[in-house]
Amino acid sequence: MLRSLSLTARVKLGLAAAGIGLGVAAPYIFDRFVIGLISLALIAGLFAQSIDLLGGYAGLITLGHAGVSGTAAYGVGYMASKAGAGFTAQIAVGFLAGMTAALIFGVMAMRSDGVYFIMVTLAQGMIVWGLSIRLFRITGAENGLTGIPRPPAVELYWQYYYLTLVVVVLCWALLGIVVNSPFGTSLKGLRESETRMRMLGYNTTGQKLYVFLIAGFFATVSGILLVYLNGFISPSTVILAASAIGVLEAILGGIGTLVGPMIGAFIIVFVQNVVSIYVSRWPTLMGTLFIVVVLFARRGLVGAISDGWNKWLHRNDAPVSQEPVLTSSNRTAGP
């Protein structure tokens, strides 16, 4: 079966297997601090993937996505620390809160596109941030909500890490199905030409709401994972920068792919938390890294790697240029 796959497909499969193997072995290799960071990066990666479903696939760039994941997190936090409810109720309310935010925001944003879509989602993120500071009784304002325990079965750091790994890999697989589905293909059409989509018979307004809800679902999952990882939630989880970092991660890794946002999230989480120990000017470092990627690898790190790989694959092909050649293989006449 393996032999029927192309070399590229086999390499991808190998990397995926190595990634999952490393993921499973990680708690035996790394200490508590690193495992915590990997958990955080996995959650940030899922969040960035969900942003990329909107931005990279459908061409709808959002700057308010933390408003959705944050609302879900606040839902869990409120039920845990204020209402004293059980875990099932906490998670159910978290989902309800996140999906309600996604529905309301989706309805608000579905009639706009391009810069207007960015502005509408930006405003939505600001509203959630504003409410998180104002609604003291629900959100605890600047102090946030603290003392949110994890469910007993995943209480220890390595247990919670494994839960995170399983949930994120599962969501990644689901996202993989979505982007390769008929609906996922039509999202790329929306990105390329909304005018044409409408003229072909697509209700593009409905399409945008639909994808906003799907992205909202995955953002909700990431928000719930995050609140139990940290054990607290505060307005800093829903500030503009939280949404913007997700977009940066997607761009850094490579938009329009699922692996890109995950790689971007790992880089940024580790730069933020490890490099910052040694380099006090780490935001400058991150800014420089970002500019270099945008200037020299327009399609992000994944794009650059895949270009390099393809070049290497075709290194022995006959040199082109000099003479005019027929580029398309189907135009080459047989003997």
Binding site: I177, N180, P182, G184, K188, E192, M199, L200
Partner: protein, 251 residues
């Protein structure tokens, strides 16, 4: 008493104003099922704007549009497309970063329930594959099935413009200058392609080039400054002094 079949398209005294500009002024036409019409006239005559009012991209300032017997004056492009209207663009409007096959699979599913399916992979097989294959064959694009659109020549992109509209299996097709920007040889190919389209399909064609237009259709509407200055079969249009004058002036 004979039962009159409603025309597939009825434009009734339509006027479209953009601020102070009157782009279309009191235009009427009735297109019967299976007919082939051309709308000709100099640049800026209002041809594209007339198409936009038919498709629902622009709503008439006054007057009415009826498609398939229903009043669609306030309808939207996607609803009109769902009822069987297809339209191509004067300035190529394709999914540039996707392959020809992906473009056509999006178009083929535009009127099927499967367009909402997000829980299973897209598989080009069965009726979708058949429709894509047949459209590619009709438009002489079979060899480019897996090519990314931005790598196609301009001529091939113009062919794909039509292929995309055909993949939705429309009953009436509006072609906005299909030969725009093509060389003389490519224009002949394009003329043959349009000529070869199914006779069941109702076609309204905008064409700046009067000779190409008159060879392809049985009814002609001539616009100038938003107004109808002549209407009739190709012979009478060729002989019409006012049409000659408009074309001499613009060329």
């Amino acid at each position: 008493m004979t039962t009159a079949v409603a025309p597939i398209l009825h434009v009734d005294d339509v006027t479209v104003r953009f601020g102070g500009v009157t782009a279309v002024s009191g235009v009427s036409l009735q297109v019967e099922r299976g007919a082939r019409w051309a709308v000709i006239g100099p640049n800026g005559a209002g041809k594209t704007t007339l198409f936009k009012t038919i498709s629902g991209e622009v709503h008439p300032t006054t007057g009415r549009v009826h498609l398939f017997g229903a009043d669609t004056s306030r309808s939207t492009p996607y609803k009109n497309a769902q009822s069987g209207l297809g339209r191509t663009y004067q300035v190529t409007e394709l999914f540039q970063a996707l392959t020809v096959e992906e473009n056509l699979s999006i178009a083929a599913q535009a009127r099927a329930r499967s367009r909402f399916a997000c829980w299973r992979p897209l598989r080009i097989k069965g009726w979708i594959d058949e429709r894509i294959t047949s459209v590619l064959d009709q438009l002489h694009l079979s060899a480019e099935r897996h090519t990314v659109v931005s790598e196609l020549s301009h001529g091939e992109q113009r062919q794909l413009e039509i292929a995309l509209a055909l993949a939705t299996e429309p009953e009436i097709l509006l072609l906005d200058e299909p030969a725009a920007g093509l060389s003389a040889a490519e224009r002949r190919l394009m003329r043959d392609l349009v000529e070869g389209l199914s006779r069941d399909l109702t076609i309204v064609l905008i064409e700046h080039d009067m000779e190409i237009a008159l060879e392809l259709v049985d009814h002609v509407l001539v616009l100038d400054n938003g107004q109808v200055i002549a209407e009739g079969d190709p012979e009478s249009i060729r002989a019409d002094d006012r049409v000659q004058a408009v074309y001499l002036r613009s060329d």
